[in-house]
Each structure stands twice: as C-alpha cells, then as structure tokens.
C-alpha cells in the first residue's frame, strides 16, 4: 500500500519538542565564535529631515566596536520592487540601508551600532544623537493620493503605480447595483521568531550568512547584488525558521547590511530584533482601501463587478505594488461574471512598507467580492448561500476562462457549498437565528459564508529544483529548493520518495535552505511547495527508481520487466529470494555517477484551489462583543499527501483569517506613530477566541502536475476572513446593519448597532 495519503506523524517534531530546534539566535557555530552584536538606531519620527547625527558619545561607550551611519555606507539604495503587471516603479523611491537625508517611517534604520554584547548595544544606541527636523507625515492613502505632501519630491507624486481603465457602461442593463467602500486593514505577520541574522566572513573571502528567511537562494542573490559581491561569494543558510507567513520572503536591507558591517568591524556578527522592533520594521501585510460595485438582476444573477482599490505601499515600495496584480486577477472570484473590472493605484505613505502576508493579494480579492455578494444578496432579498449557488462556475465550464484572463483548471464549487451547509445544519441555524431575532435576544446569531477560489504557485514559471539520490548505505538524500518554516517538508517530501523507492522515511534525509548544497530554488511561498517542489522530488524519485530498475536487471542479468521493488529491495518477479538491495545497487553505481536524478519542474500554469467557509458567531448586542462559535470548511486542494499536515495548514490559516476579521489591525495615528507596536497592543488571536474547527474533505485533482495537487497553505486565511466578517454583519442585518469594517472589534460593532 502506498504511504501517500496516510496520516504520517512529523519527523521534525521529536527534535523540536525535546530541545527546541535551532533558530538563528540559537546557533553556536564555530564560525560565529566571538560574534559581536548589531543594534539599529531607528527613527522615532514618521517623516523628518535628518539634519545631523552625532555618534561620538555612543562610540565612547564600553564595548563599542563601531557606529555607522548612512554617510559611511558605500552601498546603493535598493531599487523598488516589481510594479503592477511588471511596469517599473519610480527609481526615486529606492530604499537606503540606512536613512541619509530623510527618514520616512517610524522604525527606519538611521544608524547601526556594533558592540561586544547585546546589552552594550542597547546602551550605546541610546546615545546616538540625531537632529530631526519634522516634516508633515502622510498616513492615510486618500491623503497620499492628494499629493500635497510628497515622500519623494523627485518622483513628483506619491502614486508609484496605477492600472486599469474605468468603463462607465459596466453596469448598463443591471436592475440592481450596490456599491460600498471597504477597508482591508494593515496587518502584522508577527511570526513568533522575529527577524534574525548572523554572519561571518571566511578566510576564502566568502560571506556566510544565517537568516530566518523563506527563500535562501533569493537572499543569496540579493546580498551579492546589494553588497557588490561576486557570484558564488555568498552562502545563505536558513536553519529552523520560526514562522514567516510571507513576511520572510524578502531580504530586508537591515539584514543585508550585516554583511557590510561584519567586514568593517572585522568580526562575525549577530542581530536578533526585539518584538517592538519587529512590529514597526518588518514588512506589514494587506493595506488596501477598496470600493466594490456589484450589479445584476432581481433573480440574483450577478452580471458585472467593479473593484477599485488603493494599495498602501508604506514608505518604500517593495513587492506590495505587485499585490494588486493578484487582487485584480482574482477579483471575480469563483463566479461566472461576464464583466469584471479592476482599477488600482499604489501609493507611498509614511508607514512601514507593506509586502506579502499569507495569501498576498488573494485574501484581499476574496474579502472584497464576498462582502459584495452579501450586499447584493441583501439587496435582491435572497439567502447569501443561494446567490453563491446561482453564480458559481459550474463543473462543466472548466477549464474556465475568467473575465480577467485567467484559466481556472478544475473545481466543484456548488458541491462544496452544499457539503458545508449540510454539515453545519444551515437550515436549523437559520431557524435558530429567526427565533432569537423574534425574541429580541441579547445574543444574536450570525452566519457568514464565503466561497473562494485562489491562485497557488503563481510564480510557477520559476519552477522548482529537486534532487534524489540513493547512497551506498541504502539511505536516500533529497535536496530541494523549497524550504520549510513549519510546513513539514521533511515529512512530506520523504513520503514522496519512500513511495517510489520503498526506502523507509527515517532513512531519507531532506536538505533545504543552504545555497551551497542547494544552489537552485525559489523557496516556500504562494503555496507552491508540494505542487512544484514536491513534483520535482517525485519526478526525480521516479527517475532514480527507473535507473535502479535498469541496473538491477543488468546485474541480475534479467529483463527489466522482470524485476520489481519489494519491501525496499529489488527482486526477481516470481523468485523473491533472488534480488539486490538499494545499498548494493548504489555501491555498484558509484563509478557510473551514482544513483541520482535532478529535476527542474515547471508547471504550465498556476492551480486554483477553492473552498467554502461557514462561520457562526454570536454577537452581544449590548456590548458589541463577538464570539466565534463554529467554523465549518471544505478546502479542496486536490489529493492530500499527508492529512496531518494539510489539516494543520488549514487550522492555522483559519485562525489568521478569523484574526483579521475580528481583532488584528496594525494601526498608526495621524502623525504616523505606530499604536500597536507590541503584543500587548496588537491583538494577536489566542486560543480562547477561537472554536474547534470542523473540516470537511473534498479532492478535485489538477492535471497540471504529476501529483494532481494544488496548494493549501493560504486557503484557510483566504476563506475564513470574509466568512467571519460576513457572520458579524449577518448577526445584525435585521437591525439595518449592512457593513462593518475589519477588524470587527466590540467598539465598532457597538457603534454599528447604535447607528443602525
């Protein structure tokens, strides 16, 4: 029986459970012996001219090895990331490693202090004296659009990119048109392990850098490029990574700078930021102001949809200018809508830069259309589930070409809706809701449904690298360019190899996140790992198996068709006592280049997983308090390799999605001061605020990869957010409430009740 699809416990866990793993800050490598510490001096002002920096007092402190400012640097600022649809962004918006003339957000690094110990760094950093001349700050995206205060006067505008044309006739022929402004608020990714880096220069002139990051290979390229080093001069190692959620995709200038500082100080260096530093200076997610307009007929048929959005880029455009591209492509969601229009503007503000956060552009698209469909359902007087059933793309329409130009591979949307409604007892829940309404109960019931389709492995063109090799001791070695930070690659990828080679998973070593050992790869993001990385490893394992078969047949002197793998050894069919082991084969293959295969797997297209989430909430109409009491979902990402891991991804995603709907908001005051700069102020969701999740199972395979799999990592987040938000609004709809922006805090809910 194949190991695929079975509940295999994680191989990673015993180590993590008994000794806590090895994260960057835990490293005790010989190369890091005597490492000094880096402490950044960060701007306390959102927008200010830096008139002067005096480092003399700091430099005189005990243990100080050096204090560096932007004037000391001979590295160029980092060019802005990709724009909408790949169009270039203004070069004036490049991001310096240390601010020189102007600081543009609270938390921007303006100086770096290198000291013997961490505590000395904190003491010395306090004494770096910076003369700031305050400038007006722009915090709100609507203010930024007015261009009265510019972050980059040389660019002439705060709008870094725009796309889309408005069609004034879009809603012609619609009997019903509803429009609404929606806030998709800024969030902190808040991985439990903050950003951390360590580095050391070798005698060979090479820089080795350990980073808490999702993509070692991209970091290697970025460090080489930014520090002006030669190809091959940098080795990046990502040891255990304590969560990333997209915010550890990029390599931040602060981390790159470590390599430069290390060379100047002549010492290995460590940097591990504090939580408050992480909250203000690690990239944030989301940050879109959306206006949705939806039109259709009285029978509940949606005919046209418009999404106009403004993306908050923060102070320097990183990859977030690209996020509206995903949002725009996925704007129409899982619905068969003839006309879909997206217009987007991306603006800079005096806040931390935004970038990817779990789902990166797709949760924003789903939140918008799922709110819009509820608004539309309310207007035509139909149950929101029924409107979704009437408009969902039907199975016979696949492959389905959307109005935005994508081709959805496969799906069974209506079946997913029905499965969730039945499992949840939807009819009974609606009856209970009606009962509470008629009784005027203090605790009202709300049902929120979301139907979503998402795009996974969107960067499929880069493909992924996989190497499988049987070693002379009969064990297997796997190299992958994909890289885990909690997803369980060591377990899932060894299952793929065990399935082909019959080698026990405990004898399969998975190596990732070391650019010397795995030079090619694109890391873990966009739910790409299994479908691209897993497919590469699977194909490589198939190749190795066939090489093994050929060699076994040759050595036994028998036809290839007559040898088979039995319990991990090659046997002659029908004569089980005659055979040869993998170890023997690998030994014999040594002088023929070994039993190894390399595969670079590229998919022809991304895949489009889908699902349905039903959230049940109770809203206290006297206090505005919301309790999330049930959550029923189906997330269909094709065949499941290991249900343990897939369920875990869904659980975590639902929690983060619900957190956006209910609690979390990275907020700034009107002067650009962060108001939620630690875990006491930023309302991270805890166990008490969540119910047990009820997961249903459905599998609609794709033909785009040999495993038939789609991605599951972001599904929960995408589906849960609008389900929970819709549930809160639904609980109060009979009072005349039609929308509440996220997060639906007690204060906002209470206000909505009182204003209704």
């Amino acid at each position: 029986m194949s190991i695929l699809g079975t509940r295999v416990e994680r191989r990673e866990d015993p180590r993590l459970l008994t000794s806590g793993g090895v994260y960057v800050d835990d490293l005790r490598e010989p190369a890091l012996e005597g490492a000094a510490h880096v402490t950044f001096v960060r701007s306390p002002m959102a927008h200010a001219r830096i008139e002067a920096i005096d480092v003399a007092d700091a430099a005189a402190m005990p243990g100080v090895l050096g204090v560096f400012t932007g004037a000391d640097l001979d590295v160029d600022p980092v060019a802005p990331g990709p724009g909408l649809g790949g169009q270039p962004l203004p070069s004036a918006m490049a991001r310096p490693h240390l601010a020189r003339d102007v600081a543009r957000y609270v938390g921007e690094p303006v100086a770096a202090v290198v000291t013997e110990t961490l505590a000395q760094g904190e003491d010395a950093a306090e004494l770096v004296s910076v003369d700031y001349e305050p400038l007006d700050a722009v915090v709100d995206v609507d203010d930024a659009l007015r261009d009265e205060v510019l972050l980059f006067p040389e660019a002439g505008t705060n709008t870094a990119a725009r796309s889309g044309e408005r069609d004034e006739s879009l809603f012609d022929g619609c009997d019903v048109v509803v429009t609404r402004r929606i806030e998709n608020q800024r969030l902190a990714a808040a991985p439990l392990e903050t950003r951390a880096a360590a580095c050391a220069w070798g005698d060979d002139g090479r820089l080795t850098m350990w980073l808490s990051n999702q993509n070692a290979q991209a970091c290697r390229d970025a460090v080489q490029e930014q520090l002006g080093l030669d190809e091959g001069q940098v080795r990046i190692i990502t040891p255990d990574v304590g969560g990333g959620f997209g915010a550890k995709i990029g390599v931040d200038p602060d981390a790159v700078l470590l390599g430069w500082l290390s060379r100047r100080a002549g010492r290995p260096l460590r940097w591990s930021e504090s939580r408050s530093e992480n909250m203000v200076a690690m990239t944030h997610g989301r940050g879109q102001r959306q206006t949705v307009t939806i039109g259709g007929d009285r029978e509940g048929r949606v005919l046209a949809y418009r999404l106009d959005l403004v993306q908050d880029l923060g102070a320097y455009p990183l990859m977030s200018a690209f996020l509206p591209t995903f949002t725009g492509l996925m704007a129409g969601g899982p619905y068969d809508i003839a006309k879909v229009e997206t217009t987007a503007r991306c603006v800079v503000t005096n806040t931390m830069s935004t970038a990817a956060y779990r789902g990166a552009g797709r949760p924003e698209a789903t939140a918008a259309i799922e709110r819009a469909v509820d608004l539309f359902a309310a207007e035509v007087g139909l149950d929101p589930a029924e409107v979704r059933r009437r408009n969902a793309v039907r199975p016979e329409q696949f492959p389905y070409r959307t109005a935005t130009g994508l081709v959805y591979d496969s799906g069974e949307y209506v079946r997913a809706i029905d499965a969730v409604l039945e499992a949840a007892g939807y009819r009974a829940l609606r009856e209970e809701q009606a009962r509470r309404r008629s009784e005027g109960a203090i605790r009202q019931l709300g049902l929120g449904i979301s139907l979503y389709v998402e795009i996974t492995a969107p960067n499929n063109a880069e493909g992924e690298h996989g190497h499988v090799e049987v070693l002379p001791d009969g064990s297997a070695l796997v190299l992958t360019g994909s890289s885990a930070h909690g997803q369980g690659h060591a377990t899932s990828f060894s299952m793929l190899v065990a399935d082909q080679l019959g080698i026990d998973i405990d004898r399969i070593q998975i190596v990732h996140g070391d650019t010397d050992r795995v030079p090619a790869g694109a890391g873990t993001m966009g739910s790409r790992s299994l479908q691209l990385g897993g497919s590469a490893v699977h194909r490589a394992a198939v190749d190795v198996r066939e090489k093994g078969r050929a060699l076994a047949a040759e050595l036994i002197e028998i036809d290839e068709a007559d040898v088979e793998l039995v319990d991990g050894d090659w046997r002659v069919r029908g004569a089980a006592s005659v055979g040869i082991s993998w170890a023997e084969l690998a030994e014999r293959a040594r002088d023929r280049g070994g039993l190894a295969a390399d595969v670079h797997f590229v998919s022809d297209s991304p895949t489009f997983p889908f699902g349905v989430h039903l959230a049940v909430v109770e809203v206290d109409t006297e206090t505005g308090g919301v309790e999330h009491v049930r959550h029923v979902t189906v997330d269909d990402a094709g065949p499941v390799l290991n249900p343990v891991l897939a369920e875990g991804q869904r659980h975590g995603g639902i929690a983060q999605g619900a957190a956006q709907a209910l609690l979390e908001h990275m907020s700034y005051d009107t002067d650009g001061n962060p108001q939620t700069a630690n875990f006491a102020d930023y309302a991270i969701i805890t166990a008490s605020e969540l119910p047990r999740f009820e997961l249903l199972h459905m599998e609609t395979p794709t033909t785009l990869n040999p495993l038939g799999v789609k991605g599951i990592g972001e599904a929960g987040t995408i589906g849960a957010t609008p389900a929970v938000q819709n549930a809160v609004v639904d609980a109060l709809s009979h009072l005349g409430v039609s929308h509440i922006d996220m997060p639906t805090t007690p204060e906002r809910v209470w206000a909505a009740i009182n204003e209704a």
Binding site: E9, L17, S19, G20, L192, G243, G648, T686, R692
Partner: protein, 157 residues
C-alpha cells in the same frame, strides 16, 4: 552577583549581572537554547519554564529571583529517551508547526495539567491564553493537551 540555581536537576553556581533575566541566564549562561524569546511584554509565553514546578514567563523573572530555586526547561522534561506525556501528545496530535512557541506551550501545558488534570476544551483554551501560537490555530494544541490529560488519567487509574 552569584546565584545557585538547580536547572533540570543539576545545581549550578554562576556569576550574573544583577539585571540578568532568567531567560538570558538559561540561554546564555547555561546554553539551553530551547527556551525562546518571542516578545518584550510578557505576552507570548515562548519563554515559559517551570520554577519549582510552576510555570513562569522567564522573561519577567530575574535570574536573581531564581537563586536557590529549581528551574525546568524543555530540555529537562523528557525522561531520558522517553518523551513526557505532553510532548508525546503534541507529536501525535500535530500540536506544533514551526516549533518556536512549542517549548513554552509544552511547559505551560504541563503546568496547566498539574493544576487541572481533567480540563475541558474551554479550560485548556483559557489556560493557554498567555501563550501565543501563530501557526496552528490552537486547534491541535488543544487536542494535544486533552489527549495528554486523558493519557495521564488512564495511567493513574
């Protein structure tokens, strides 16, 4: 100042700065890196250890306060090769993903079960409110603690 602290069953005498926090003593002086630092505000619980058997957040305790007391960290929980029932339950129920919150979460769970050997789902959730996990959505953590409780109860019967 000089402190004498029993760490995972072994007594150690060490010189520390007065301001040294217990978590830094554990990590830097004793070299036990399983205990993690996740926040500055005693909010996340990643640094939870047992002080004389009771869970504390070691970022809010001075090493000096642990002078003359015993500390148990994640490295001291297993009995040789055999994992503690809570560790085993976390493995079986997939109660961890990236693993960074895990040592603190496990130590808090051990303490929770000591106080309340048969908690309900809601009691586990409220008992773990001081420990943040960003990966698991807590679903499997709660399952882990309930499974450990069941096993411990069975063993006692």
């Amino acid at each position: 100042m000089h402190v004498t602290i029993n760490v995972n069953g072994e007594e150690h005498g060490d010189e520390v700065e007065d301001r040294t926090l217990l978590v830094h003593y554990i990590r830097d002086t004793r070299g036990l890196t399983g205990t993690n630092v996740g926040c500055d505000t005693t909010s996340c619980g990643a640094c939870t250890v047992l002080l004389d058997g009771e869970s504390v957040k070691s970022c809010t305790v001075l090493a000096a306060q642990a002078d003359g007391h015993s500390v148990t960290t994640i490295e001291g929980l297993a009995d040789g090769e055999s994992m503690h029932p809570v560790q085993r339950a976390f493995q079986e129920k997939h109660g961890l993903q990236c693993g960074f919150c895990t040592p603190g979460m496990v130590m808090a769970s051990v303490s929770l079960l000591r106080e309340n050997p048969n908690p309900t789902d809601a009691e586990v959730r409220s008992g773990l409110e001081g420990n943040i996990c960003r990966c698991t959505g807590y679903h499997n953590i709660v399952e882990s603690v309930l499974a450990a409780a069941e096993r411990t109860t069975e063993a006692a019967e």
